[in-house]
């Protein structure tokens, strides 16, 4: 190890450079910009906490901000309540011993995850459209036609519908990750229980589930980060205005509107950076919470 070590830095340099310039520097610079103000000519001047005071104190900013943040938590809650339990259920079924066709089910259920969110958004927009009437027709076929509604267009149901579309697309991810964790549960543990007469159901909840808790925690934090960074689905289906009446606005779409402007409001890079910094904080709190609390408490269960 006393030899010339220049090769180490040559191996590291390209990746470290590009990563630092296009990822770390912009993240830090965005935080810096959130403390600046931009004049109409484009000159930057230090403004301290002015942008934050506006974001929290001026109703023109604070109302849409809280609206987007609360909507984003609803969006996340739908994923936690629907996507991850379905993913867990599918993974549990797929990992049952002696299941035929396991590989095909896995491959096919994972398929929507591979497609662009934009495409998925448009597909569901067409299916749910009252113009085409596919969803409505199917519901009449099973006798539920009276319950059909143009869900994507109603203020009360648009956000939930969009969340469910996203859940439908991404359920494959928790399914795969939990399935992989279940495969790692040692067989002698479950076999001993089988011999003692335990059923698959109780084996799953009493033996396997506690062992895969770390994976479920990881799936949750991945969902959290992805949800608080989401944008494409809202933009594809609802455009910049996240309608009706901003009921589908989440942090990503609010950030975009703030940065680039809409209708009569001019875009503002510094306010955009302020919103991005708030998103950064929300995600950071989530990740830190995961690393400090959940990870530490759960490791004693892991194998």
């Amino acid at each position: 190890m006393t030899r010339n070590q220049s090769h180490i830095w040559i191996f590291l340099a390209p990746a470290v450079l590009i990563y630092s310039i296009f990822m770390i520097y912009p993240l830090l610079d965005s935080i810096r910009l959130s403390f600046y103000d931009q004049s109409e000519t484009g000159d930057l001047s230090f403004a301290g906490l002015v942008n934050y005071v506006a974001l929290f104190g001026d109703p023109n900013w604070s109302e849409p901000f809280w609206n987007a943040l609360i909507n984003n938590f609803k969006f996340f809650a739908m994923h936690m309540l629907v996507q991850n339990p379905i993913g867990l259920l599918l993974a549990a079924i797929l990992s049952l011993p002696k299941l035929s066709g396991r590989g095909s089910y896995r491959t096919l259920i994972f398929m929507p995850t591979m497609l662009s969110v934009v495409i998925i958004g448009f597909i569901w927009q067409l299916i749910l459209s009252p113009l085409w009437g596919v969803a409505e027709g199917l519901m009449w076929n099973v006798g539920l036609g009276d319950y059909y509604n143009a869900w994507l267009g109603e203020e009360g149901s648009a956000l939930i519908t969009l969340s469910l579309i996203s859940v439908w697309q991404f359920v494959g991810i928790p399914m795969m990750l939990i399935y992989a964790a279940l495969l790692n549960v040692p067989e002698d543990l479950t076999e001993a229980a089988l011999i003692d007469g335990a059923g698959h159901w109780s084996i799953f909840w009493r033996i396997k589930f506690p062992l895969i808790l770390p994976t479920i925690a990881m799936v949750s934090i991945l969902t959290f980060v992805a949800n608080f960074n989401a944008f494409d689905l809202i933009y594809a289906v609802k455009g910049t205005l996240a309608g009706p009446n901003f009921s589908t606005d989440i942090m990503g779409s609010f950030f975009y509107r703030t940065f680039f402007g809409f209708q009569l409001q001019l875009g503002s890079p510094t306010m955009g950076a302020t919103v991005a910094t708030m998103m950064f904080l929300v995600i950071l709190i989530g990740v830190m919470g995961y690393l400090l609390l959940i990870q530490r408490r759960l490791t004693r269960y892991s194998l």
Partner: protein, 281 residues
């Protein structure tokens, strides 16, 4: 007793397949529905959306319109150039960095590993305001190069993390033997380590490819011009413009879906093996 037991087993196996089949159906039929309707005439799309195209309802009018009214082939090749270039470069330099981190003892190794891992959890989109400033000041606005550079930075953290985990498991005798023969560190990496890492390289390639190909955000803010539009942005803009022309909308969706579907069916085994092998923990 054993009879009823067996009957119950069969019943539950049937139930399990019923659950899995219905979920599979739920996952596939929306995609299938769009594809079959893109091959039908406008009338047939509305009259009987659930029917397969037949002699009277078959029509390619949507595809003709898409190819005439938009530069679909250009969007497609833009996406291809961006994705392939970003992938090749990020995997190559990512593997080099992963090797340095996993093989050599140097001051700050652990710290650098943590620094490079930040990007796994913190989304690069949050830096968009400054990325746009940076791209404009480098005179790269509306170029594919800007997208490529950003996507390399986006893909690197996970690539380095997965590959360095993998490279730590490569047995030491191979490289020690080479070192005794006086082979240079570069040759060891390019001729021994890189070929040995092929399975892991395949996994990270698939993981990194999907978000790049599907991204809407960066094409929208860094390269929205007609000449540099990627397929995701192209479809989004095209549908926004032709929203009332159902043939065109369905055909453009099908054109965007089919290549991915095909690629997925070819590589799904590799992808799934990558996930289930515990490459991501």
């Amino acid at each position: 007793m054993s009879h009823t037991h067996r009957a119950r087993r069969h019943l539950s196996a049937g139930m399990i397949h019923a659950i899995l089949l219905s979920y599979t159906l739920l996952a596939l039929w929306p995609i299938f529905l769009v594809i079959i309707n893109s091959f039908k005439s406008r009338k047939a799309i509305f009259r009987d959306p659930l029917a397969l195209p037949n002699e009277t309802s078959f029509s390619l009018i949507g595809f003709e319109k898409v190819l005439i009214n938009s530069d679909f082939l250009l969007y497609f090749s833009n996406s291809l150039i961006v994705t392939v270039t970003a992938l090749i470069i990020s995997i190559l330099i990512g593997a080099m960095a992963a090797w340095a981190l996993s093989e050599y003892d140097f001051k700050g190794n652990t710290l650098l590993g943590l620094y490079l891992a930040i990007g796994i959890m913190i989304p690069i989109r949050l830096g968009s305001v400054s990325i746009l400033n940076l791209v404009v000041s480098l005179d790269l606005a509306n170029t594919l190069t800007a997208l490529i550079l950003v996507y390399i930075a986006q893909a690197l953290p996970l690539i380095i993390f997965i590959l360095s985990e993998f490279m730590r498991q490569i047995p030491t005798d191979l490289k020690e033997a080479a070192r005794c023969d006086g082979v240079s560190e570069y040759k060891i990496f390019f001729q021994i380590i890189l070929p040995l890492s092929r399975p892991a390289l395949g996994t990270v390639a698939v993981f990194s490819m999907v978000p790049i190909w599907n991204d809407l955000w960066f094409p929208l803010i860094l390269a929205p011009g007609e000449e540099t539009r990627t397929i995701t942005l192209g479809v989004q803009q095209f549908i926004g413009q032709y929203v009332t022309d159902w043939n065109s909308v369905l055909a453009s969706l099908t054109l965007a879906i089919l290549p991915i579907l095909l690629l997925y069916l070819i590589f799904s085994r590799q992808l799934i093996r990558g996930i289930t092998a515990g490459a991501v923990k």
